[in-house]
């Protein structure tokens, strides 16, 4: 094997971190990949395939493929359940790693979303002997060390908007009000859509867009970019599976999904009811159905409509650790609260992925390649 072209630490093992790590390894650069949770893959490793009779280019399977690449790459050294707690800037960068407190409590068992998660199972400290084969105890997971690296790429991702902040939607109060993230899980784990309250197939479904995004009241003056695409794609999956489903989407502006959007959108418009208004209140009525109240275009009085299931298309907000990370690595935070990629005051520190602002999986991958390229430039591996 050729000698390595230097060493880079990648913080965060979502699709941004995985992609950056993989690109660096392509150029024979060693990578220390640090992930706070017990599993690599970030949010998107748990997403559902959104194909109907055709692939809808949601990108979820690209994450699976990238994870498979990374776990088989000897140049990438993975530290699960580990956090960065210190940075010293001398000749190179000296980074202190500490075990994080992520993982199952007590005797709990956690399973990764992908068969390429290694280990696949992580069990709590008090787990007995009856544990899945190959499971690792959390006490054995995590790195305590100081590592010398030439550069750092921060890819700590985002936090989905917590809709319980918008109290009038009754999220957490009404069982059949769920988030887009929960819908991803439900579709992935059940062949068909089921209602949380009774496991039955809902017939009348509402999607509410821009929950936590484009919201002046919250000070969230950004579009999350991914929620129109994921909502329309998942609505397509639901409709494909159950042609009787009656689906309504409440929206402000519909954003593009990507290539061939005009063709896709024409099709969606033929069966999905688009209402250009955002509901203000959700009440639970009989049979755990939900009544939405909104001011609709073309009507004087607020309209009321009942649904079996309401999906809140939650958006992307700054990662929970952003303030700490910003301080630790001396990176400015932009007016929306995301890391300002270009601003790292420490030479050799870069930012990739949704840590710097909203983006889809494929946008994130493209951006992380670019960040890897910047790091290579810094290392002198490229010009």
């Amino acid at each position: 094997m050729k000698s390595q072209n230097g060493k880079v630490m990648v913080v965060g093992g979502g699709i941004a971190g995985l992609t950056a790590a993989w690109e660096l390894s392509r150029q024979n650069i060693g990578v220390e990949l640090v992930e706070k949770s017990c599993f690599l893959g970030g949010h998107s490793i748990g997403f559902t395939c959104k194909a109907t009779d055709k692939c809808q280019q949601c990108g979820a399977c690209s994450v699976e493929e990238m994870l498979a690449n990374v776990v088989d790459e000897p140049l990438i050294n993975v530290h699960l359940r580990t956090e960065v707690t210190g940075l010293q800037n001398g000749d190179g960068l000296t980074v202190s790693l500490t075990k994080s407190d992520a993982g199952p409590a007590g005797g709990g068992i956690l399973r990764g979303f992908s068969k390429n998660n290694r280990p696949l199972y992580v069990v709590g400290q008090d787990a007995g002997d009856d544990i899945p084969e190959g499971a690792v105890k959390i006490t054995e997971l995590g790195t305590e060390a100081r590592l010398e690296v030439d550069a750092v790429i921060v890819a700590t991702g985002f936090t989905p908007f917590d809709p319980s902040i918008k109290k009038t939607y009754g999220y957490g109060q009404w069982k059949n009000v769920i988030t887009g993230l929960e819908l991803e899980r439900i579709l992935r784990e059940n062949k068909s859509l089921v209602r949380p309250s009774d496991g039955k197939a809902p017939q009348k479904i509402a999607f509410i867009q821009c929950v936590g995004s484009r919201d002046k009241g919250l000070g969230h003056l950004w579009c999350s970019q991914v929620c129109c695409p994921y909502a329309m794609r998942m609505a397509s999956v639901i409709k494909h599976d159950n042609p009787e489903a009656d689906i309504t989407m409440f929206y402000i502006d519909i954003q593009n999904t990507g290539k061939e959007f005009p063709i896709f959108y024409e099709d969606v418009k033929s069966w999905l009811k688009f209402v250009r208004a955002i509901p203000v209140d959700i009440y639970q009525v009989e049979d755990e159905r939900l009544k939405l109240m909104q001011l609709v275009e073309g009507q004087d009085a607020p309209a009321m409509e009942e649904f079996d299931l309401v999906v809140l298309a939650v958006g992307i907000t700054p990662g929970a650790d952003t303030p700490d990370i910003a301080k630790l690595f001396n990176i400015a935070v932009n007016e929306d609260g995301f890391l300002d990629g270009g601003s790292a005051a420490t030479a050799g520190v870069f930012v990739a992925g949704t840590a710097a602002g909203p983006g889809s999986i494929i946008d994130t991958m493209a951006g992380a390649q670019k960040t890897a390229y910047e790091a290579m430039k810094f290392l002198g591996v490229t010009k």
Partner: protein, 509 residues
Amino acid sequence: MTAEKSSNTIEISINTDVLVIGTGAAGAEAAEVISAQGYKVAVAGDGGQDIAQSGRAELIEGAHIRDFAGVAGDFRACFVKDGQRLERNFGAVVIAPGRNVRPQAEPFGLSLGERVITLGELEKILADGNARSKLGGAAVALLLNLTWEGDPQYTARVLEASLAIQQLEGATASIYAGNVKVAAPGLERKFTYVREQGVVCFKPMEKPSIEQTGDKIRITTLDSILRKTLVAEYDYLVVEEKAEPSDRDLDLAYSLRLDTDLEGFLPSNNVHRFPVNSNREGIYIAAPGLGANIALRIKELFGDGVKSVPADRAVVDPEKCTICLTCYRCCPHGAIFWQDGVAAISPLACQGCGICASECPMDAIQIGGFNDKDLRRQVREAVAATQKPAIVAFCCQNSALEAGRAAAEFGMDLPAGLKLIKVPCAGKVDVEFIMQAFVDGADGVMVAACHEGNCKAERGNLFARWRVNEIRKRLEALGIDKQRLLFTTFASNMAKGFAETAAQFAGSL
């Protein structure tokens, strides 16, 4: 060009010159980043003097590609310039797509003129310093995404222009919008700011009707919020510019054998192509901001000019080849060329999908790691060893195999008699293998591919489906229940879907 290194890899020396087609922003960026890697770059297109002056790249000006041949590492482009032929060799090609811009005046029954202008024309007026004399005091209406869906870049241009108008003395800008495309950094904030600066944005429920009388333009809309018919008069109307694929790109797609999407834009709509790949190794599609991404792919392809590749990825037996051209036509990656009177396959360009091997009428092609003898043996073993019902599942290694293995690993219930056979792509599942499985005693055969539009080989799954449909007809003619043969599609993350489909299939047998 090739020299033997060991029995299973060969070293190929690669031409590391790069041809960039297109002199716009994306082409210039790509040329710059690639040349920074130390590779020689030639840029072909009209204009582009600044690229030539930078000294970063040679300019092949005003030349048009007449013929294009070869494979990654060894492309041959024949240009025609001033009636002269110019032949050049390159290891890789970058296409910076162009756009045809179609002004959208006609959908409103209008024609372009002094008062009805395009966004491009407006931007010129705003840029040339005479904006004040021309637009000062004027009321300007800008149309946004009413006749086409547009994109964030287009929305950003409209917002920028509206703001510039609003800041001119006495001038006002109003936007009539369909979906405002704010899915890009900073755009929602900008949209908010622009409105705070006094630009009014109407989102009509239906397409507005617009009339021009003399110097005035009258727009009638049904406003969605006020729910009233609104009539307003303007001095200028700025119509949309719809982007369409350029004729040059459509020509290039044809002569370079590249897939486009359904709208005609390069490349095809397939996640495996994003962000810069095409269906052919060594040919990349540029866009502004993606220079580094292209540089990385080219670095990976070229390395230091010599590349080790498996020698047996796909190999033609020259004794058997009758030059029927089938393989050339069906290879999705343009990896097949002619050498010494028979088909030859570039080990660098070939992706090992095996479509050619399954389609070759002479069985002249073998795929490394998946030769026919091995696959036949696997089918035999699969059928012999199992409990009932015996199911042979040919699984694409990119999707179904991953899903099937994940289902097993997650402990999901799988039929006891199910055996997975790994294939490089469902396109490698020969009719012969399927028939053999039935002859050997399989109760059911499953051909499991990627979803349509997700095949790395673009059409391997379609080939597989056609073959399955053909065989089902044949089975029916033979009096065999055609339900015993199933074509199905998965993504690698569909463990649950795989388990359920397999269980259902087993139940039906």
